[in-house]
C-alpha cells in the first residue's frame, strides 16, 4: 500500500535539509498529535462562526480617528467586513434603521424621504470596488513599517444598494442642477459636494457589504458609494442629499482634501483616486528564506481597470509583468503575483500599476516634481519599495525625499 515510497530515498538525497530520515521513528507523542483530531468529535454547528483560535487579524487604530486594514495578512481581494478600514471625524454613530431616513431635496421636483425598507425594495445593484482614504499613505514611515501601517486605509467589499440615479428619478431633478451635497448623520454632520454627473453615473446608496447589512463603521444603515472616488466623499450614515447648481464648499473640500500645488495654487475636488499598487508579500515583518516565493500585491485605480502591473526585483533596473488575478474589475483592488526565486542577495522590490486610462503609477519624485512636496499628504500614490536584506529581513524602503 505504500506505493511511491521508493521515491523517498531520492528525495532525501537531493533535498537533505527538508527530508525526514525515513528510518527515524515517530515518538508516541508525535503519533498522538498526528491522530488527535480524528479521535474526538469536534464542535457542533452554530448560529455564527468564529475565527480559528490560531488567527487574530486586527485593524490598527490610528489617533482615534481611523484604523487600517491588515493588508499583509489578507489574500484575494475581498476585505472581511470587520477588517474594513475606518476613517471618521466624530466616531461611529448608532442609528436605528427603523427611524433613520434619507432626505433628498433642493433642486428636485419632489423632496422625499426614503426609509431603509424603501431602499431595500427598490431596484438593486451590486458591485465590488475599493474605498480608499485619499490621505492613505504614512509619509513618515520608517523601515519597520507593515503595509497596514503604511497604507492600510483602503479596503474592498462587494456593495449592494440602490443606484442614486434611481432615487433621483423618484424626486426628479431640475434642469439647472449640477451638484449635490451629501451629508452624514454623525456628530461631524460630515458633508461633501459631489458633481451630479457622478451621482447619475455609478453612485450608489449602499446598504449591504459582502452580502450582509453594511457595518456600523462603514455607514450603517446606508452610505454613499462613489466607486473610485476618495474615501471622504463616500459619505457614511447618509441622512441628506441636497441638489444644487453649485458646490457648497464645505470644510472637508476646502480646509481638508485639497492639494496645495507648487504653483502656489491649491486643487479643489481632486476626487478620483489615481492608480496605485502595493506589494503585500514579502513585506515587513516577514523574513524571507531562499528559493521560490510568490511576490503578491494589490493594484487599483479610480479611473477604471488595472491593465498592467510591473514588478522589479532589482530596485527598478528591470521590470517584469506580474500576472493579474481575474476577473479584473473596474475601480477594484486587483491581485497581482510574480513568481520569484530569491538567491539570498540583498535587493529591493517595487511594483508599478498601469490603468486603462493609460495612467502609470508615478515615483514620489515625479509627484513632487509635478505637484510639489506640500501636496503629498493627499493622493500620495507613489511607487513603494521593499528592501530585502541578505539575512531575509524585509523592510520598507521609502524613496528618498530629495
Amino acid at each position: 500500500i505504500l506505493t511511491g515510497l521508493s521515491g523517498v530515498a531520492g528525495v532525501v538525497a537531493t533535498r537533505p535539509l527538508l527530508a525526514a530520515d525515513s528510518a527515524e521513528q515517530l515518538s508516541l507523542e508525535k503519533i498522538d498529535q498526528l491522530l488527535a483530531s480524528t479521535r474526538q468529535q469536534g464542535w457542533a454547528p452554530s448560529g455564527l462562526g468564529q475565527r480559528s483560535a490560531f488567527e487574530s487579524p486586527q485593524r490598527l487604530p490610528l489617533y482615534n480617528i481611523a484604523s487600517g486594514t491588515p493588508l499583509q495578512d489578507l489574500h484575494g481581494t475581498i476585505t472581511p467586513a470587520d477588517l474594513h478600514f475606518e476613517r471618521h471625524h466624530a466616531g461611529v454613530p448608532t442609528l436605528d434603521p427603523d427611524m433613520h431616513e434619507l432626505l433628498i431635496h433642493g433642486m428636485v421636483d419632489k423632496p422625499l424621504k426614503f426609509s431603509l425598507a424603501d431602499l431595500k425594495r427598490m431596484p438593486s445593484v451590486t458591485r465590488v470596488c475599493f474605498i480608499e482614504c485619499s490621505g492613505n499613505l504614512n509619509i513618515r514611515a520608517g523601515e519597520k513599517t507593515t503595509p497596514q501601517q503604511l497604507s492600510g486605509l483602503t479596503s474592498q467589499s462587494e456593495w449592494t444598494g440602490v443606484a442614486l440615479s434611481t432615487l433621483l428619478n423618484e424626486t426628479g431633478v431640475k434642469g439647472k442642477a449640477r451638484w449635490f451635497l451629501a451629508e452624514g448623520a454623525d456628530a461631524a454632520v460630515l458633508a461633501r459636494s459631489i458633481p451630479l454627473a457622478k451621482g447619475l453615473d455609478d453612485a450608489m446608496i449602499a446598504y449591504a457589504q459582502n452580502g450582509e447589512a453594511i457595518r456600523p463603521e462603514q455607514g450603517y444603515p446606508f452610505r454613499l458609494l462613489l466607486p473610485g472616488w476618495e474615501g471622504n466623499t463616500n459619505v457614511k450614515w447618509l441622512r441628506r442629499l441636497e441638489v444644487s447648481d453649485q458646490p457648497f464648499m464645505t470644510r472637508e473640500e476646502t480646509s481638508k482634501y485639497t492639494d496645495p500645488l507648487k504653483s502656489d495654487k491649491s486643487r479643489l475636488f481632486s476626487v478620483v483616486m489615481d492608480a496605485r499598487s502595493i506589494i503585500t508579500s514579502p513585506t515587513y515583518p516577514s523574513v524571507l528564506s531562499k528559493g521560490w516565493t510568490e511576490i503578491r500585491g494589490l493594484a487599483w485605480s479610480g479611473h477604471g481597470k488595472i491593465v498592467q502591473v510591473d514588478v522589479s526585483v532589482d530596485g527598478g533596473r528591470r521590470w517584469q509583468k506580474a500576472a493579474l488575478q481575474g476577473p479584473v474589475l473596474s475601480k477594484a483592488h486587483t491581485r497581482f503575483t510574480l513568481p520569484w526565486r530569491w538567491d539570498g542577495t540583498g535587493t529591493e522590490l517595487l511594483s508599478r500599476a498601469v490603468d486603462e486610462s493609460g495612467y502609470i503609477q508615478p515615483t514620489r519624485r515625479q509627484l513632487i516634481d509635478s505637484r510639489g512636496l506640500g501636496s503629498l499628504p493627499y493622493h500620495l500614490n507613489c511607487i513603494l519599495g521593499w528592501q530585502v536584506r541578505s539575512d531575509g529581513q524585509v523592510l520598507y524602503a521609502a524613496e528618498p525625499w530629495a
Partner: protein, 174 residues
C-alpha cells in the same frame, strides 16, 4: 449634461416631507450665502464664547492647542503650501470661503457638544476667528447680511481639478 432621468418611470417610493423636517436638517451654508440663518454676532461675544468653549482644544487666540490651529497669516498673503509641507493651514492663510467657517462650526463644534450653539453664537465665533486671522476689525459685526461678502485672503488660490471633467459653476460669494 442631459439628464437620463426623464425617461424612466417613477416607482413611487419615498414619502413626502414637511418643510419643518427639511429645515431641521438643512444646515448647510453656501459661499453665495444660501443657507445662512437670520442673526448676527460680534467679535467680543465670540471671544467670550471662545474662551469658554474652544480654548481648551484650540489654544489661546487659536494657536498652540492640542487640536487644529485656527489662526495665522503668511506675510504678504503668500501661498507656499505646495512647496513647504511644514506650513500649518489656518482659516486666515488657507480657507477660501468665510461661509465655510460658519457651516463647519455649526455642524461640528464644539467637538464634544456639536449642535448646541445658537446661530448668533456661531456668528460671534466666526467674527472672533475672522478677527484673530486679521480679516475683520474687532468692532465689525458678522451676520446673515455680510458673511458671504467677506473676501478670504487665499480665495484666488483655489483651482478646480481640471484632470477630469467636472461641470463646475464657480460658487458666488466672497
Amino acid at each position: 449634461m442631459v439628464s437620463p432621468l426623464s425617461k424612466a418611470e417613477r416607482l413611487g417610493f419615498g414619502r413626502a416631507v414637511s418643510a419643518q423636517e427639511i429645515q431641521l436638517w438643512d444646515i448647510d451654508v453656501r459661499p453665495d450665502g444660501a443657507g445662512l440663518p437670520k442673526g448676527n454676532g460680534s467679535v467680543a461675544e465670540g471671544k467670550v464664547l471662545y474662551l469658554q468653549q474652544c480654548l481648551s482644544c484650540h489654544g489661546d487666540r487659536g494657536l498652540g492647542g492640542v487640536n487644529e490651529p485656527l489662526a495665522g497669516r503668511i506675510a504678504g498673503d503668500a501661498f507656499p503650501f505646495g512647496r513647504d509641507p511644514g506650513l500649518k493651514k489656518t482659516i486666515g492663510n488657507y480657507w477660501p470661503y468665510a461661509t465655510t467657517v460658519f457651516d463647519y462650526i455649526r455642524r461640528a463644534m464644539p467637538f464634544s457638544q456639536p449642535g448646541t450653539l445658537s446661530d448668533d453664537e456661531v456668528y460671534s465665533l466666526v467674527a472672533y476667528l475672522l478677527h484673530l486671522n486679521d480679516i475683520i476689525d474687532p468692532d465689525q459685526h458678522i451676520g446673515a447680511d455680510n458673511l458671504a461678502a467677506i473676501r478670504m485672503p487665499s480665495r484666488h488660490r483655489f483651482v478646480v481639478d481640471d484632470r477630469i471633467p467636472i461641470d463646475y459653476r464657480h460658487p458666488e460669494g466672497g
